[in-house]
Amino acid sequence: MKNFTLLLLISLPNLQVQVSGKISFNQDIQPILSSNCYSCHGPDSESREAGLRLDTREGAIMDLGGYRAVDPGKPDESEIILRIESEDQDEVMPPPESGHVISSEQFALLREWIQTGAEYETHWSFKTPHKQPLPDIKRKEWPLSPIDHFVLKKLETENLPISKDASRHAWIRRVFLDITGLPPTIEQAEQFYNDQENGAYEKVVDHLLSSDAYGEHWARMWLDLARFADTKGYEKDLHRDMWRYRDWLIKALNEDMRYDQFTIEQLAGDMLTNPSPDQILATAFHRNTMENDEGGTDNEEFRVAAVKDRVDTTIQVWMGLTMGCAKCHTHKYDPISIEDYYSFYAMFNQTEDADRVTPIVPTPTSEQARQQKEIQKKISQLQIALQKKPEAFQKDLENWKGKFKNQPLWEPFTLVKMESKQGVILEQRAHGILQTKDENPEKDTWTLTLSIPDDSQITSIRIDTFPKKTGGKWIDKNVALREISAEWNGQDQESRKVNLINPRADFSQKGWEVSKAINGNKNAGWAFSPRSDQPHVAIFDIQNPIKGGNLLLTLEQEFGQGLLFESFRISFSTYPVRWLKPVIDYEKEFNLIFEEQVFAKTRNIHDKIKRETKALNSLNSQISKTPIMRELPESKLRPNAIHQRGNFLDPGKNVNPEVLTFFGKIPSGYNTDRLGAAQWLMSKENPLTSRVMVNRVWARLFGIGIVETEEDFGSQGMHPSHPELLDWLAVDYQENGWSLKKLLKSIVLSRTYRQSSVIHKDALQKDPRNRLLGRGPRFRLTAEMLRDQSLFASGLLTHRIGGPSVMPPQPPGVWKSTYSGAKWKTETGPNRYRRGLYTYIKRTSPHPAMVTFDAGTGEVCQVRRIRTNTPLQALITLNDQAYMEAAGNLSNQMLSYNAELSQQIAHGFKRLLTRPPGKKELQRLISLYHQLEEEIFNKDDYLQSAGLQTGNPAMVALASVLLNLDETLTKP
């Protein structure tokens, strides 16, 4: 192993520098000091030993009492050299127990550095990037873009070859996968293959950048950073609607929103002047933090954890620096003190959310918003129409009201007699009011005999209750009418059951809706807490109106605790039931009743309004509500202090909100708050934001970033392989108006990107990982791309952009969460075949096929996925239901393409790999097909495994082989 490390190092450029004798502090010295010395002699004063710091020149050359740690020009008198050389176990540095060892190469570098003056340099990434002039190169005909100059220069310096252009088939598959995450169709590939025009490549790229699939593919990268998931995390890990944020993201990318705008909206969209609904939705970015619903947890503890996560994520995503350690102590390697941390934290610590889902806002999709508008418009038009009353209206109204002089709308019943289990006596007083004579018992059932007029049919009965008097045995003023039932003793003295229908009340207690008083179930009924101290009304219509005789009304009030009527009235009406509304003072409403229910023309309009309102309500109830950021009002702003050792229960010194001042100040005109922080991140003076983003994009295309440690641009991170290229891209990105599409276009149209990925033996030895880019990128596709590609090539993919997350098949029993009843409901319709980025992510139980291919769980910000290779991955693409169904459908596509076997196979091959199969490949596949035909396996079962009723099992198995080819799983 050791030999291997050395071998590898020799091929890396930094040792070449040593040979040339020029020493760069940033490239050669700082990595040695940083990883071996800074943890005890670095920026953190708390853990600093012997008062010595080596991260600044001032500290290193300080007089330590007649000697210096670093004595410029005099390595033999420099204490660090003596200490490294020392053989005394107590003296030697780094101390043996630290596990650090300085190699002889490193030692030589240190000596030489001191000898030549021990100059320090600002860490490379903390300096503002500038575009350097394009380097001189030998093969001037090769470059297609400035990018290629930088790449070629390095290759020429290292004496490494470039590769010829990739075949058109390889390039188009590569660029399709990179920009949209999907392979080209055979037709698209052919069109490009035959397009000999100059702009053929550019035409393809422009087409791809304008497709919807582009935003979907690139959203995935950002979703990793945003720690996007569909659940809250921790024990209960309950669902939370976040998908509208994903919609926002896809849209922003497809519209090529400028990166500065993109940043500001997500970090502080709510703080913009008159923010649009989309700008507020964007702030859901930082509401992707976890929430803990476990019983007995301290909300403040998890609110603080969420705010810290926002701080860490912000700095990580935009500046490629790690803040995490500064939570507890000053950063050991980078210029971030614990005070810096909590000052930055203070800006993010002023939002309303507190380990709860609130604040949330309705976030209609554009289609829903359109429907909302449409209905609202209809309603307001109808309301305008109502304003103009026809001439006849007023006269007809007066006539109508005249009726009630003879026969009121409601008339109290006369109480003939009553029965009570507990001997309660009711007295009928003025206006027909019924009043209990004595204090009520705990519970009772009454049967009231009420006299029905002989002359007209009664259509409805009404109960008015009046507030109970205070004092007495029972405190609760509520009434629980658990059941009301009626019987009619007609003039023929026969008793018949009366059906009560259309229950309605002015108000019902939650869970005690008035309908429950006639549902035959005595566990619930009508009650009206918390509004028990107000009068209430309930109305029940009589299904078959009755005339004459008596009505026997039974009021079951057996709940207990004295929840019985005390003062109430029972009335009847002889009018059409649609005139009868559950309002206390109905005479006041006569005009309205007439307009709504009686006068034909206005009734018509009202009916329409009701229908539209119902439609609007139902639409509104379907609109997703998304958690968003909202700043606390000034009076409620939280005080801020350092959390000592990171413990929020142990506040230290107070701090004021501030950005990391080492990297410049908040632009003038902005406050020290989230919005100011966002502006600071995007200001031209910030040396990191642009570099970090272009590097991230580069890494997605080439497999490795120019700075390999995408997550760490600080002094512990790796040095860029092509510093000038990185800076050129970073400045160009700013100059092009922060356009991601332009950035991508410039990279994928470069010659560097166009190279073939065929590896020459020589190049494999010298540059095994293609750090110097002498060939095209070749690496395994991501979890999502693998899924999408198989669905697309087999013709199964559902092309639908955005919307809620979906549940494609996953093995049964994977979800067994504690205390959460959530169930994985496997999709059966088109949602079964959506792109991978729409697959539901439950943080504590993500989809196994995704995670096994290195997708994250959305728990914390994930800067890069480390590609792994395990047998479990092979099992997924061989056996997973999704891949089997893809194989099934692909086999059908092949069979229906042509009657000839070799053409069928070639067709399937091209659908996945774009290129046609070679002769040998085709032969091998044909022989496989014949072998499979011979193999004994259960035909019906196998077809069923592939989701097919009928088909050709041998072709399914062959299609599955195509889906598992190394070339299929890999970007060409």
Binding site: G99, T297, S845, E935, L943
Partner: protein, 500 residues
């Protein structure tokens, strides 16, 4: 690796490359190789130390059993039984559910002394009592988390928040595994639910996903997800397709020259072998009757509780699921698996609803595990594996010496309960390099630690130490920090007092 002859040359040429790539199979990958290849500063990680244990079997009782009723015989607490808890124990304390002043609650079951060491063990665990001279009972554990999910995460990943690698991931990342055809870190769950913190407890956090725990399922489905060939397909057909796949990949490799393609071929061959080796190792029917009896195992048994919405009410004392998992654990370590993690859910005995009481549920849970654990220790011993296997048993925190009072303040049959207690609890360790006996003490009522406190960091440090890893040196650079299982500070110390 059994590659055909014509590939062996290619393999030799690209051997260096192989190691460099991000993993291949489960066993072969050493971390420094993977590290260097992903840009992590090439640290000199001289963390390996002589190992006492080859494998670890960690038995996690999710929910946290009551140490008061299993290990802590406290006559003084019995004396105060039913009296109000003194204020000094309540002031400034954060409880999950206790409100106001709860009553003290003495141990509910009888205690006796067992073995030559004369340790007090509850009558609920006759099996463990019979092997008590083989284990070291640590009575002075403490943690700083008092809710399940964060406490489980702290214990298993070193951080109460989600997103950190689990102990098993750390260990396999550091040491790899001895059997290429089996995952190095296997998880077995029983009790009908995954633990509170979910699969994050065996997640790889920021380590490559290769190191995440692989859950082997014993509830009737595929023992490992996606392991079985599609229905209707057979081994012969699979072999035929893999042969074609190999040929086609080889053609392609000749053209492209990327050693990754060769890794791909091996990856599929390993998968093919795993499809055979996993069901084989998981097949308990291969065990003789007396061994099954020793554990109380029943091959193929699938408990109703495993698929119930609320399994607690279906718990039966003779449910063999945990016993099956213990026997599996032995088979796995016997086959070179590095870290076997068992989770048994259903130990959260608050007494506030049905199926979660000290008086009725705890005895059932004990019967489910007790014989199996004694069987596991006995079996490992008779096979000579005990000395090279570290066994760890415990919950994520302890339970209060007071009864839980948020629902009722009086004891009621079937509803005896205790709240979460982070200040003192009991765990035990046994096997590789562990000195049997007792370690640490609590005060007279079992509320605070009296002697030799052991924190979560100490436990983690000790486990790493026994498996041959220096816990302080072993790290992974991430987020600007040399991340370690034992956390950034050096508070965690190997518990020397329990080592032989």
């Amino acid at each position: 690796m059994n590659l055909p002859i014509n590939l062996q040359n290619t393999q030799a040429i690209t051997r260096r490359h192989f190691f460099g790539q991000s993993g291949l199979g489960f066993g072969a990958i050493a971390l420094s190789k993977l590290l260097a290849q992903n840009g992590y500063a090439a640290q000199t990680q001289n963390f390996k130390i002589p190992a006492k244990a080859k494998s670890i079997i960690y038995l996690h009782m999710a929910g946290s059993p009551s140490q008061i009723d299993l290990f802590e015989n406290k006559p003084t607490l019995t004396k105060y039984h039913g009296k109000d808890c003194p204020q000094e124990y309540l002031e400034g304390k954060r409880f999950a559910f206790i409100k106001g002043t709860p009553k003290m609650m003495g141990p509910v079951f009888d205690y006796n002394q067992y073995g030559e060491s004369g340790q007090w063990v509850s009558s609920l665990m006759p099996g463990l009592s019979s092997v008590i001279d083989d284990v070291c009972v640590i009575r002075s554990m403490h943690t700083d988390q008092f809710n399940h999910s964060p406490a489980q995460l702290l214990l298993q990943t070193g951080n109460p928040l989600l997103g950190y690698p689990s102990m098993g991931s750390w260990v396999t990342y550091g040491l790899g595994s001895d059997n290429e055809n089996l995952p190095g870190f296997v998880v077995l769950a029983s009790g009908g639910k995954t633990p509170s913190a979910g699969k994050s407890l065996w997640g790889a956090g920021f380590l490559p996903t290769l190191y995440q725990g692989v859950q082997c399922r014993t509830d009737g489905g595929d023992p490992i997800l996606y392991l079985s060939d599609p229905k209707g397909f057979n081994r012969k057909a699979r072999r035929t397709t893999l042969d074609a796949l190999k040929d086609l990949n080889q053609y392609h490799h000749k053209h492209i020259g990327d050693p990754e393609t060769i890794s791909r071929i091996s990856q599929y061959e390993l998968a093919f072998r795993m499809q055979m080796s996993v069901p084989e190792v998981m097949d308990l029917k291969k065990e003789p009757e007396h061994i099954l009896k020793l554990y109380g195992a029943k091959p193929g048994h699938v408990s109703n509780a495993e698929s119930a919405t609320d399994p607690r009410q279906l718990y039966k004392s003779n449910d063999p699921t945990f016993a099956n998992n213990c026997l599996l654990a032995r088979r796995l370590v016997e086959n070179g698996v590095r870290f076997v993690q068992l989770y048994d859910w259903g130990w959260d005995h608050h007494g506030s609803s049905l199926g979660e009481s000290i008086d009725e549920t705890l005895p059932i849970k004990c019967q489910q595990i007790d014989r199996a654990i004694a069987g596991l220790i006995t079996d490992l011993k008779q096979r000579g594996l005990f000395e090279e296997t570290l066994i760890v048993w415990g919950g994520e925190f302890g339970r209060t010496p007071m009864m839980q009072n948020n629902v009722r303040n009086e004891l009621k049959k079937g509803f005896y309960g205790r709240d979460h207690h982070p200040h003192a609890f009991t765990m035990w360790m046994a096997g590789a390099g562990i000195k049997p006996g007792a370690y640490g003490e609590t005060d007279d009522i079992g509320y605070y630690i009296g002697k030799n406190p052991v924190g979560i960091r100490d436990l983690q440090a000790t486990i790493l130490h026994q498996i041959g890893i220096n816990p302080h040196r072993f790290h992974f650079p991430y987020q600007g920090l040399n991340q370690r299982l034992i956390g950034p500070t050096n508070e965690g110390k190997v518990i020397k007092g329990i080592l032989s």
